[in-house]
Symmetry: C2
Amino acid sequence: MTNVTTAATDPGEPPAPGPARRARGEQTRQLILETALRLFRERGYAETTMRAIAKEAGVAVGNAYYYFDSKEHLIQGFYDRNQAAHRASAEQVLADEKDFAARLRGVLHAGIDVNAPYHSFAATFFKTAAEPSSPLSPFSRESSPARDASIAIFRDVIEGSSAKLDPELRKELPELLWLGWMGVILFWVYDKSPEQRRTRRLIDGAVPLIDRLVSLSRLRVLRPALRQILALIETVRRDD
Amino acid sequence: MTNVTTAATDPGEPPAPGPARRARGEQTRQLILETALRLFRERGYAETTMRAIAKEAGVAVGNAYYYFDSKEHLIQGFYDRNQAAHRASAEQVLADEKDFAARLRGVLHAGIDVNAPYHSFAATFFKTAAEPSSPLSPFSRESSPARDASIAIFRDVIEGSSAKLDPELRKELPELLWLGWMGVILFWVYDKSPEQRRTRRLIDGAVPLIDRLVSLSRLRVLRPALRQILALIETVRRDD
DNA sequence: CACATAGCTTGAACGCGTTCAAGTTGATGT
DNA sequence: ACATCAACTTGAACGCGTTCAAGCTATGTG
């Protein structure tokens, strides 16, 4: 039952320590998070118990719950870390390359590179992220900073590129590419081929296709279809 | 034959009773399933305990585990039931209508109609279904009968219609439409608008679009793009 | 220096899903 | 009639995530 009202006390973040009281809490918080992520990597998510995390970190099990609402909330740390790594990795690609297709391809592969070491338990993470009510859902309000950061990468892909495209489409494309990226991640999570080669092939195949479709979008015959797509996005976005 | 290759003992289905031994087991199985689905509907999935199901059904908790591998496996019953209901509902639409767009639209709305009463806890179901290793995943081997049945609906949508389309595309389209249907379901699960109106709008907007794209696919300028799409599907399907 | 107090820590206890050794039941072969 | 044995049923017990009343600790204040 925890709480039902939307507000109530909200841990999860350091419970608002005073101005400069003690940094000790933050230290414990980090210790627990580091230990948890290490054990997740070593043993997997489901196989790592909260008791084991506490024991390994040398604290009581209740202490972990003082800093994190639940076992799932420990995943948010993983999330944030990988997001930052993707950003950094993407920036390198974007600095070197001007061609739209090459930029998109580089950014997508970089994203997979960053996540690859965690493929075996990304599935479990994904499970908890998939629940719409979960704060870890990529569509949730709590995730919106991470989501915006991710969409920003795709905006950079477009804006720094030499591609010419319809202004209306240009406005929507970053979010569409992000949505496509979510699809790639979904595919990757389910990908059981060695080293997730199918996902690599999906990227290599889909990028030229997107590139071609984006170019074709300026064709006169396709103009109505494009308008129709943009109208659909608009219609669906209205949330009433 | 319930189990296939990898099998050790495989419950989940009635444990292969002899030719005409006892129908008693099947009765108990049904009783447990009915009770579980009723309680899920009344209280929600997470709030329904296995103990409560057993108590309400008048059996021991261990007995539920004789017929169902886990609490999640009870959901398969829900799955199968809704699949059958969708099929039945779709057939009515398909009997009356010859136009491709109208057929597709009718089938999609029928699918949502069937699931609508369960929207509030479909989210929880979805969570467990999303885990790739889960037998409930729509992509899992265990789900392949249900998946094939669902794809068959979309094959009927195409085959009974007056639409003319590229033979190669025709071959792939049922599966593509099914994939799109999974996307609609995903959207629906996350849809918080009253009575999931956004999902209805998504269907109403996407169907004419698909109809248009399918028609356009016979255009000469789009021929290479279509080929490219089909080649991508082929490449990605190879699982090595 | 002592005290009050906010920040932090504890671990027993709860209810959950799940397991399993031990039972019961009834159709079948003799 | 009896024995057999696979099918079915039982419920105590296990380990898990999570909660919470109680305790500890260091700092700002009198």
